[in-house]
């Protein structure tokens, strides 16, 4: 920590308003803990992203030990959670989710209202870039975090670029803290 402002694709450069890079894992943890309704959005690439637990899809399940955390799987990823006998993860396609996140009166998955912090990870780089871009301009009250291993300029906060080993360690630190504080 901190990561570097290197985007996952060469031409996906930042616009005038760009994500801040987390200075440390503690800031990530603190922001997520402070949020009243955080939502973790787990993308289809999570099945290919290696972590200390195997893949990110495995690591993300640990977050559910914290009752404050809501997880939603996009694409067809929910099947991977089902394979792991995990039924607490919601499923919604990314386009449908993005459309609802920009709606301030959307009730969320539990009907209790919209989310104030949305954390993305596990997407094709450009797809996450675009969805975060949409939220930046059309859901201005919403804070977004990208936990992916490269800089996502359209998020409010991004973990930034890290080498794989370093990223795994940081993710482990974040997830461990969040699961234990549940």
């Amino acid at each position: 920590m901190p990561g570097r402002p290197i985007t996952g694709q060469l031409a996906e450069i930042a616009g005038p308003r760009k994500a801040q890079i987390f200075p440390s894992a503690e800031v990530v943890i603190s922001l997520i803990k402070k949020a009243s309704r955080p939502l973790f959005v787990i993308g289809s690439e999570s099945i290919n992203v290696a972590t200390v637990d195997g893949k990110f899809v495995d690591t993300s399940i640990r977050l559910l030990r914290n009752p404050k955390m809501t997880l939603v799987a996009t694409g067809h990823l929910v099947a991977e959670f089902k394979k792991r006998k995990e039924n607490r993860v919601f499923s919604m396609q990314l386009m449908n989710l993005g459309d609802r996140l920009r709606d301030p009166i959307w009730g969320g998955f539990d009907g209790k209202g919209s989310y104030d912090l949305v954390i993305f990870t596990g997407f094709p780089y450009y797809l996450e870039w675009l969805v975060l871009s949409g939220l930046k301009s059309f859901a201005m009250e919403l804070s977004t975090i990208s936990l992916d291993r490269t800089y996502q300029p359209n998020a409010t906060w991004s973990i930034g670029y890290m080498v794989e080993k370093e990223w795994k360690e940081e993710i482990e630190k974040i997830v461990k803290n969040l699961e234990e504080s549940g």
Binding site: L10, R17, G75, H76, S91, M95, P124, L130, S133, M140
Partner: protein, 716 residues
């Protein structure tokens, strides 16, 4: 989903439009995104229109204005898009001029609306984008029916001849002419010259992109090399002795690439002159001499007949005498690979972030397999090479890694058949409209795939096995051919070419997409007897509410793909794109839970009724192939489905959801109208799912649906 936060279209700018900011002209982010969409659709529609106009002028010169438009067997409604939009029934080539006059006039108006200080509202921009799409389908129809009518291409027959597709289909012992683009005229004259001079045994003609489709429709001895993404890889193979480019989707660095293998280039269109000298009026012998000796890297010849003569004479002299091309060896690649700086620029340049650096590192140790594994996933853009600070020819590396695969790249494909006949429409109209044929899936568009072209084949096969009608065109029709099963068969060998349940219909090149929209229009006209000429609103209302058609452009890349999709939206046909399609900047999404959004008039009594979210979206990006498959099945539902039809569609939606999501859908309460809609074999689990959602029978109506007040027949 803005692809850029700025507007840089006028000298006030750049203007930052992020969030609630406005530009110097007053435009906001939503308006700007839709403005760019309109510009893209105008580009796409203009490209097809210019293509159609160029061919029409030429064909009228060659065949005369009074050439009849005999374009499909067993068919009276031979130009449904033109009739619907322009209100005329074209009978001869002359009549097509009127259609293009209308399209050209409208396109100028639309493009003018994008000027600074004109249109500002995003919805009005979107409406205009739809208009551009509608015009595009007219232009495509003109382009395809004029070539069918004059060039002897198949006229709607199901069992068209089969040709070979793939790099391995070419006999590289012969002289090889590579034709790239979309405008078939120069290629036709190459083929004619070969036929007239009995030279087909000495010269191979292979095509890339839509010219390849149309070459094969003209003469099945012409080979299809592959989709748009095969340009660099095929040139780097060193096989082509001559490159002929016409227009659209060409690599603009084709001269530099051809130089690397010592192949001259002939450009044949004013729209893509590539900086080459215009030799149209020169003596062909002199032009051939200059190309063969390498005095010039290429020439521009704006005369198809002369292209034919010069191309054949040149290629026969160039073949066997090219000295500048030395294919890379494994040893050479390994040696180069050891110089890799591991900077990751190649991975970051790759649209799909393919693990190129890992593959290069393996090659440094003599392991070429990872390079070969990149090959089927690569979209052939060459951005990795452009980014590489060491200057590796990475596309050539991938080719070498996949050398054996490439040699075996030979697949049969039925050549494009053109229109769907009236007789076929009569036979399938009823089962489609009532939902018993569960859907019409159109696999169209370019080859910018997120994970290789085999996904297009997988999507197609999933629906073919379920007895949907699958139609295909352009690069997607090619990619469908390139996947074999364990027995070595591809989908063209396993499924018939009939426009019927379980049929796989290759309509042809991208201008043949007009036959797909045309089929939907003809269902309304022929089966339902709705008036056609100038009756767009009613026909689109019919299609949207009754015809379970879904467009799929899994590798959509171009502005043409945008305008083709826009033409589908205007007809009420939803379109699903792959994840790169999100770069079209916005989606057209419904919110299924908003009851008020899903009401129509019941034409029987004039009452406004709730019909559920069918179809839920008009334009949708899927993150994964599996998500796309499930969404496609869902988007085939229409309010007019009979109980039996809805049950069939629901059975596919539920079964696919269970297969790919490993769960029951959680939104069945929006789609089951009454108990008879429930698939019989799924009764228990569906009933349970409905009970959990407090579903009430008949809250969702089954009206005679229309969005048009004027279509109400009687008011109670």
């Amino acid at each position: 989903m803005p692809d850029c936060d700025l507007c840089c279209l006028c000298t006030f700018g750049k203007c930052d439009l992020t969030g609630d900011k406005r530009g110097a002209c007053g435009i906001n982010m939503a308006g700007q995104q839709s403005r760019i969409v309109l510009i893209a659709c105008c580009m796409g529609a203009s490209t097809h229109t210019a293509h159609a106009r160029h061919m029409l002028d030429h064909l009228i010169e060659e065949f005369g204005k009074d050439t009849p438009l005999d374009v499909a067997i067993n068919t009276n409604v031979e130009a449904p898009n033109i009739r619907l939009v322009c209100g005329i029934r074209p009978k001869t080539l002359r009549d097509l001029e009127d259609a293009l006059d209308y399209v050209e006039t409208q396109l100028v108006q639309l493009l003018a609306a994008t000027h600074t200080g004109q249109e500002g509202d995003n919805i009005d921009f979107e409406s205009k984008a739809f208009h551009a799409g509608m015009l595009d389908h007219v232009a495509m129809e003109v382009a395809d029916i004029e070539q069918i009518a004059t060039l002897g291409m198949p006229k709607g027959v199901a069992d068209t001849p089969t040709t070979d597709l793939g790099i391995g289909s070419l006999d590289s012992k012969k002289a090889v002419i590579l034709c790239i683009g979309h405008n078939v005229l120069p290629s036709i004259d190459i083929i004619d010259y070969l036929m007239e001079n009995d030279l087909f045994d000495e010269v191979e003609v292979g095509g890339i992109c839509c010219t390849a489709h149309d070459n094969s429709r003209y003469n099945k001895r012409a080979k299809i090399i592959g989709p748009i993404s095969w340009q660099l890889r095929f040139i780097r193979s060193g096989i082509p002795d001559l490159v002929v480019v016409d227009e659209q989707c060409l690599r603009t660095d084709i001269i530099e690439e051809a130089k690397k293998i010592g192949a001259p280039v002939i450009a044949s269109s004013e729209k893509s002159m590539l900086g080459l000298p215009n030799r149209t009026n020169d003596d062909p012998a002199n032009v051939v001499d200059d190309l063969v000796t390498g005095k010039v890297p290429g020439v521009l010849i704006i005369n198809p007949r002369k292209v034919g003569e010069v191309a054949v004479k040149t290629v026969m002299k160039v073949h066997g005498n090219r000295k500048s091309f030395m294919p890379l060896t494994v040893e050479a690649i390994s040696e180069q690979a050891r110089k890799c700086r591991d900077c990751m620029e190649c991975v970051r340049a790759c649209p799909n972030n393919l693990p190129i650096n890992d593959a290069v590192r393996a090659a440094a140790n003599g392991d070429m397999e990872p390079l070969g594994a990149i090959y089927p996933l690569c979209v052939g853009c060459g951005r990795c090479e452009s980014a590489c600070p060491v200057g590796f020819s990475l596309i050539s590396f991938f080719n070498k890694g996949a050398e054996k695969v490439i040699q075996n790249e030979k697949f049969p494909i039925r050549v494009g058949r053109g229109a769907i006949t009236d007789v076929e429409i009569r036979e399938v109209g009823s089962p489609i409209v009532f939902g018993e044929i569960p859907g019409l899936i159109a696999m169209v568009g370019c080859a910018n795939f997120p994970a290789g072209g085999n996904e297009v084949a997988k999507i197609s096969e999933e629906f073919l096995n379920r007895r949907f009608i699958v139609v295909a065109s352009g690069c997607s029709a090619m990619n469908i051919a390139m996947t074999r099963d364990e027995e070595g068969l591809n989908l063209y060998q396993k499924f018939p070419g009939d426009f019927d349940a379980g049929g796989l219909v290759n309509v042809g090149s991208c201008v043949a997409n007009s036959h797909i929209s045309g089929a939907a229009i003809k269902i309304a006209n022929i089966f339902a007897k709705r008036p056609l000429r100038g009756n767009y609103e009613e026909i689109a209302d019919y299609i949207h509410n009754r015809v379970g058609a879904v467009g799929v452009a899994w590798g959509a890349m171009s502005q043409k793909a945008a305008s083709i999709a826009a033409g589908c939206w205007r007809l009420g046909i939803p379109v699903v794109v792959g994840p790169h399609g999100a770069k079209y900047r916005r989606m057209l999404l419904g919110r299924k839970e908003n009851v008020e959004d899903w009401k129509v008039f019941n034409a029987r009594d004039g009452k406004e009724v709730y019909i559920g979210p069918v179809p839920e979206h008009l334009f949708y990006t899927a993150e994964t192939m599996e998500e796309a498959i499930v969404m496609i099945a869902k988007l085939t539902m229409r309010p007019n489905d009979t109980n039996k039809g809805r049950a069939v569609k629901l059975s596919h939606y539920i079964d696919l959801h269970q297969k790919y999501y490993n769960t029951m859908p959680d939104d069945l309460n929006f789609f089951v109208r009454r108990l008879q809609d429930i698939p019989f074999t799924m009764r228990d689990e569906v009933t349970k799912a409905l009970q959990e959602k407090d579903w009430v029978e008949d809250e969702i109506a089954s009206p005679d649906p229309t969005l048009l007040d004027r279509m109400v027949r009687r008011r109670d």
